[in-house]
Symmetry: C2
Amino acid sequence: MSTVANELRKDYLLDRWVVIATQRKKRPTDFKQRLEEKRQAGVCALEPGNEHMTPPAVLVYLPTNGGIRKDRDLNGFRHKNWIVRCVPNLYPAFTPPKEGEWLGLESGLFTRASATGHHEVLIESPKHHEHPSVAKVSQLIHVINAYLDRIQELSSKPYVKYVSVFRNHGLEAGASLSHAHTQLIATPIMPKIMEEELKASKEFYNKNYGCTFCEIIEQEEQSPRSIWKNKHFVVFAPWASVHPFEFWVFPKRHQCCLLDLSRSEVEALAKTMRVCLGGLRTLLGDPPYNFGFHQITCGARDYYHWHLEVYPRLTIWAGFEKSTGMFINVVSPEDAAKHLREAMLEEEKKI
Amino acid sequence: MSTVANELRKDYLLDRWVVIATQRKKRPTDFKQRLEEKRQAGVCALEPGNEHMTPPAVLVYLPTNGGIRKDRDLNGFRHKNWIVRCVPNLYPAFTPPKEGEWLGLESGLFTRASATGHHEVLIESPKHHEHPSVAKVSQLIHVINAYLDRIQELSSKPYVKYVSVFRNHGLEAGASLSHAHTQLIATPIMPKIMEEELKASKEFYNKNYGCTFCEIIEQEEQSPRSIWKNKHFVVFAPWASVHPFEFWVFPKRHQCCLLDLSRSEVEALAKTMRVCLGGLRTLLGDPPYNFGFHQITCGARDYYHWHLEVYPRLTIWAGFEKSTGMFINVVSPEDAAKHLREAMLEEEKKI
């Protein structure tokens, strides 16, 4: 039984509390788990040659002499021989507005709105398994540039308030397809977590005339939760990590969204993602994970600071977490950082 | 592809949005899933005869002539022949304060506190598989009475701000043991979701001199989301259900916590839980689920209204949900209610 009291920690900004309860990871189970996560024999709609199985691409990168040509598919026609390819999701959560479609909000107890927006699948590589953890850095640079192109187009639409760029890796992380892909969802409202981060960082700014995230980076870079860095990016396990082995990636330079990235920062981000996700893969045997970018594409320039949050899926949110919004993490961020640090240093040598 | 636009819905009180995206449930997967969830051959620490494998019980119900005797284990001694039994969790997330232990909060970016509180396992039956979905109603009455005894004791402690009573059913819902059990966690802070519900219901009360939950019940009882009711309880699928087939159980009489239940309401709640969870089991083949009671044990008497939230675990929260706090639900609450209604009506005939 635990002799050391567990620690409750609050997120830097959010009113989100987590118990760091490391003894709990030793608890026994009488369930026998065997999760087989193999690819089914069958057709992959994201594979080169199967372009007709998806809607027309809204963006393709095509090879040209010494560079990239950007294009999109027209109805009935599909570009082949692409490097990255972005298509509307065939089963979208959000869809573009149609003429005359009801958009308004009702209020009172029963508030609703059309789920107006976009839902896209960005196919990261013609190679089924070229996930960021094993990808060539040159390919990841294309992927990030494609993020930027899609963020720019989606965020310019008048009905779009937020563009979420996220990745589900593995069945237990909610992926339904195993081909390397990222998703983009453009929403007509600002999501709750972003709203809370914005509010807190704005308050900090108004009080201190500075960016609270810049302050966090400065402190965490020298803390036992520091994991890795290069010239442009810093990686650390957040103080109140909700997930075991969770880590966050921040650009050192203050910038509110991915669109602010310089060309050399894009390259540094590609390398950072390759090292971080490769290290995670090596350390824990290609675990399922989610990642999500947090960014603000307009307003908030002074006080918001974009970053990437990576959540390995090693435990399950159960009744306590779901009904209270409090969390239990069985690995301390300091322990997680130690192991991830070693794994990422090793990974760096490989690329 | 969807021809009907999906709908975004906001929770009655929380700033929590969900997209009802029913077309998404048709999307294909190329993962082959095989989750074997069998009990391992081995010793169950919650089984009668293995009482020495747990810490001393803080509560046991023992049979006497024509009734129940309540007692607790003393160190070194374990009561046998119990009807229900509540023990401290061997791997607790929260632990009682020790003398001289640091309890304070630090503030700034790095806020923390001791995880002071309690974490208990309430063994619902000597029978391994007597889950609420199949239990005798008479046994469930004992279980609920044991909840009340533990809530009363835990909520009276000066360092306890909230008592969470929750249940994890099945491996995919985060259960580590398959013997029928509920957990209680007493926390030193008010959890985020409760804090938000309290704030919103207090605002409603100050404006309308009434309980917002009473209003919700009245409206939902006559809505297409209504599922089942008896003299004392109402069951419905909430307007902005986050989980497919989610349902909530409310007492009709305004009361802020389970301790307000009358004896006949306890009986009605036992029957309601048996019908609801039995219906869920029949409808979906004993799916994994979580449930959590929302209640306030002191203050808030006028404006808070306790209830039980049940979350079947049929889909996975992925990168979008985890990074934004917005949700996608592939089953509309109205459809869920229709199927649950039929299943619960059938279930009612069995008991």
